[in-house]
Symmetry: C2
Subunit: 429 residues, 2 copies
């Protein structure tokens, strides 16, 4: 039979069990943060009508998208969780209770050029708080707080950089640079990655006020902006919101550091007010591991009703890869079983009964029932690094005493099944 | 601005929060069964090379598949979790420890004609035990056991129908019907849905031995097959395996009923030995809610190495829909918050602190910080059916006594924050 080479598409993550266990643990921790914060779960299809998904998209996004026809239907794989959310809100607006606070976890797809740390299929963890009326800055603060809690749960430190896009948009209006708005935004977006000189040089190509603007953009206290005579309503609104947000953040017990940083823009996307982004503290490279911001009129392509909101997103595929490549993850388990139960001679029945008792107590375990010699069973348990084993023979059954062997220390303890449960951290009824 | 109609592709499930909560609870319960049984987690991409995914597929499957090109790459969305598993095993065979026991949860896609209870995007929950050597029938029993545990965890009863394909394949050989094999299999596949007369009538079109074969196929004890003089090795092997499997199942404490049923075939797919399928007991309609079986040579399209195994799959989208349509699910929650904390006047800071304390104790809650009158906050909590509320004003802060109101009974209890935690079922440190 002719063989086909087994291979996975490049840019698509596929992990060995050892790494998948850690990935899933991280996933569970993030979802647990969402649940504890009382967010409602949401799940939308991976495929959508192209006209729905691409209603607002343009340029780069459209080029990256996986789009195709099946019969007469023109469809796309989602490239984020935000557009499907807008669609969802427009469809279900009469069934939802606002403010609607949701989380969604799922894969998104972008067929972009393969590059370091970028995946074409990636897990996103989104939070959004959306309202059909005004929504106070408390919601922005909550989004940032939940974002911080995620990294706390993952035991990784981030620095959260916060900005308000009204400030730069106001400056652009004030300096009459509206026609160069996109270029200025894109330049700001890479400000943290280039030198001050380079930034100034580039800015000078766009405006004669480059020196003045650079000075303003380097301020890291909203109060300091008050010294500048910028006669623009949007600018002052931005400064005021930024001040207010920082005040509200103070009353939240946020464990990660956060700073005002005017280089944070979050691309050209739909954000209109607060924007924020997280960088890992323990990495030299400044790579965004997520962020979010405030948007007006989320569902404007679908409905006349105005929905404003604030959201945040963490990309776990990228984060995991980044932590892994930098040696910041520990892969100690190849299995989630705490215990291997090894039958000796014909004790499978009793082994299975013991296994079920442990399962009921919440202890993950497996019975090594395979038709293999005892030695290869030991070998299997060893190679899989199952932390404990117990061998069940006639003696164990008659005495109801099991020998629990710690595979790391080599120590054994004799105990009954209740003792096994206690030693393995299960719930004794 | 011109509006685009917000709509979801037909055949794609999208739930309101109330139903999503129940869906996710079911999902979590199934995953918990997998974990307790010590299965390793796996995750593979949704997109694969077409040549990889379609290596073995044919006919109907190929027609249903979402296939497209991006640049020069011909790719498909996966239509099940088995072919990607075969690919995974072929790629990672040197890193895996066999027998490899895995679970995988994810969406699969089939663009089939929309029909009742069929989804084009559907969640599958797969278990496989695969070996690079022989694998005893204990593995088949374990798969069936885990399948049963899933429905136990979901608190739904199933009847598990088990067969061994060697029996029918042996009969086909014995009666020299090999050229009609597919037709016989397809007829058997619908046996439970048509009358005995109709089945016989159809079978007569295929063979003159229809009466005899029908009689054999209606036997529901493997022992009863011993009375027939079928001189065929495969047949006897099937009968013997079936007997042995039923013996092994007896020593497992399986809560759901299981029976030998020769009409179970599981389509034309790759199964070679044991096959099984579950039907919900509380439904009149006999619809499969999952099943699985034994396969030889899983990865034969990719590698010369022989991997045999046994697997099972539960389709949650279909199961959920079926239970929902038949009124067998209860949607009592629109939120996962146990408690709404309502600030009175300027107590947001203290409300947030209380919220964090409760989060640390594992109690899902939310602070109603919205700029809305007190009455609309009460209204929000009511509409969302948050089970408990507590209003925090100056008095509560000074006395450190909170009034916990049960929204269903209307009862209030005054207690301190530790008391709140206890009453709401949190962990007191």
């Amino acid at each position: 039979m002719q063989k086909i080479k087994a291979k996975t598409l490049s840019g698509f993550m596929e992990l060995t069990p050892e790494k998948q266990i850690v990935f899933n643990e991280m996933k569970d921790k993030i979802i647990s943060v969402f649940k504890l914060n009382g967010l409602s779960p949401m799940d939308t299809p991976i495929l959508e009508y192209s006209e729905v998904l691409l209603a607002k998209a343009g340029g780069e996004t459209e080029k990256q998208i996986y789009r195709f026809k099946k019969g007469d239907t023109d469809m796309c794989m989602r490239f984020d969780l935000t557009v499907p959310f807008a669609k969802y809100v427009a469809i279900h607006q009469n069934e939802l209770i606002f403010p609607f606070r949701r989380y969604q976890v799922g894969k998104s797809f972008r067929g972009e050029r393969a590059q370091k740390g970028r995946f074409r299929e990636f897990y996103q963890f989104d939070v959004d708080i959306i309202s059909d009326e005004n929504l106070s800055l408390n919601a922005d603060a909550e989004c940032i707080d939940i974002f911080s809690q995620i990294f706390e749960a993952l035991d990784k430190r981030v620095i959260i950089k916060i900005n308000n896009r009204k400030i730069i948009n106001g400056l652009i209006e004030f300096y009459k640079l509206t026609d160069k708005s996109d270029e200025i935004m894109l330049l700001l977006d890479k400000k943290s990655k280039i030198s001050e000189e380079k930034f100034l040089e580039e800015l000078k190509k766009l405006t004669s006020k480059a020196n003045e603007i650079q000075k303003i953009l380097n301020l890291n206290e909203p109060q300091a902006l008050l010294n500048y005579k910028i006669e623009n309503k949007l600018f002052w609104q931005g400064v005021q919101e930024m001040q207010e947000l920082l005040e509200i953040l103070k009353i939240r017990d946020i464990k990660n550091q956060y700073v005002f940083d005017q280089s944070i823009i979050r691309g050209l996307a739909y954000y209109t007010g607060t924007v924020f982004e997280g960088n890992l503290v323990d990495l030299d490279e400044k790579i965004s591991v997520g962020g979010g911001g405030r948007y007006d009129n989320l569902a404007e392509t679908f409905t006349d009703k105005n929905f404003c909101g604030v959201g945040s997103s963490v990309g776990l595929s990228r984060l995991f890869d980044l932590l892994d490549k930098n040696g910041l993850l520990q892969f100690s388990k190849t299995t989630i079983s705490s215990l291997a139960i090894i039958p000796l001679n014909n004790t499978i029945k009793e082994c299975l009964a013991l296994s079920k008792t442990l399962i009921k107590s919440g202890i993950s375990n497996e019975v090594l029932y395979f038709d293999k010699p005892f030695k290869s069973k030991l070998n299997y348990a060893n190679k899989k690094r199952i932390p404990f084993i117990t061998v069940v023979g006639e003696d164990e059954i008659q005495s109801n005493l099991y020998s629990l062997k710690n595979m790391e220390t080599g120590e054994s303890i004799k105990t009954d099944s209740r003792g096994l449960i206690e030693l393995l951290g299960g719930k004794v009824e």
